[in-house]
Symmetry: C2
């Protein structure tokens, strides 16, 4: 936790917050903060600043906060990801949030197991948790939007063209020779398939929607390694 992310309900006064639960435990046990110490804080969706420890015990952490600078710039990318298994999903969401992705679409595909769509990891606080951890890791404050699209064809035919308008459209596909471009200027919409890859029909549909298949070489990477590698090349 390199930044403590603060939400409206944490504020007990305009310049004071009271924290309990996970963030209190982390500051007690990992930071081992002391009275008067300054910690990095950020207002969810807003600016970054300093929180001075006014009180810290088993009951709560009270900080006097002041905000001074903007969060780091986002990556200009929309990431469309075939829904991974829940454990991988959490790691990928944390990693891409820490890298500055603000727009994430979780998409169905032939090789996505049906049961993944019923995972509790897709609902409410469980879905938000890796996003918050990613922001706290990277010292960012702006939560990504996550859209769930459990129907491949209507999304790719009817929604994806407008969603990706004006951007460089790429689909990562190990079975192509074209290498993933480097240092692209302007926004990108990047589609990444499931373990095992998209089936030919899906690649065709994405190509019809204007997406160019590109690859990272002959090595087959895990989704989390592939997504990080793609983002690092593109930006």
């Amino acid at each position: 936790m390199n930044l403590i992310l603060l939400f409206p309900e944490d504020f007990v006064a305009p310049d004071r917050v009271l924290l309990t639960g996970r963030r209190l435990r982390h500051v007690l046990e990992v930071h081992r903060a002391v009275l008067g110490q300054s910690l990095c804080v950020g207002e969810a969706g807003g600016r970054i600043g300093i929180g001075r420890v006014l009180r810290l015990d088993e009951e709560g952490l009270e900080l006097a906060v002041a905000f001074e600078r903007e969060p780091p710039p986002p990556l200009p990318v929309t990431l469309v990801l075939a829904l991974p298994r829940p454990k991988v999903l959490k790691r990928v969401l944390l990693a891409v949030t820490s890298l500055g992705v603000k727009q994430i679409v979780l998409l169905n595909s032939f090789r996505v197991e049906k049961s993944f769509w019923k995972s509790p990891a897709l609902v409410g606080e469980a879905l938000r948790e890796p996003l918050i951890l990613g922001l706290e890791q990277a010292r960012d404050t702006v939560l990504p939007d996550v859209l769930l699209k459990p129907l491949f064809k209507p999304f790719v035919e009817d929604e994806l063209p407008a969603l990706s308008a004006g951007s460089t459209r790429l689909v990562a596909h190990p079975l192509t020779e074209r290498p993933c471009p480097r240092e692209v200027s302007g926004p990108v919409t990047l589609v990444v398939g499931p373990e095992g890859g998209f089936i030919p029909y899906e690649i065709e549909k994405l190509q019809e929607a204007g997406f160019l298949p590109c690859a990272l070489g002959e090595r087959i990477l895990r989704v989390e390694t592939a997504v990080t590698t793609l983002l690092a090349r593109l930006f």
Copy 2:
């Protein structure tokens, strides 16, 4: 498992292997292979080819194997990594092996917890496992070398200069302005610190050994995300 990695003890004849244990289970339960099916195989340290299923039951998997092509080229990098906590270590080893790293040095640093050096993850089969999984993931056959260096100063002063001779020497250090270079030509020795970073003394020592601090921007990344991002930029 995109490739079944074969070791000398698996061979029952020059062109036949018999597998049990983890690889048998995986082929039974994930690949759900059938008699006559061809699976991708590779000889540890050698070539890649095809294994045709001669027998598959709860007792064993027998394959007729033929090898035909070289494994993918390695990344020309020596990765010197401050020893991460055991769970992270496994993920990082798997990821960097899948990316083609062949030379890994696990190094001590002030912010590495002493207990990490006593982890069973550093010994024998437990250390080899994520390397094998990384090769199987990426369809590679050449196991990386992993060196353990539990003493920072003697390693950096006495061994690192020779180990990194002739290579571009970089140390990832979030507190510098210089961005990590892209598409470096020739070999690189890349040093990556622990969560929390190297202390100033350690950075000084690395600079004395010829290492240039460089960073990935203002975002602080988890070790596994940082290492993948650095490798993707460099190569």
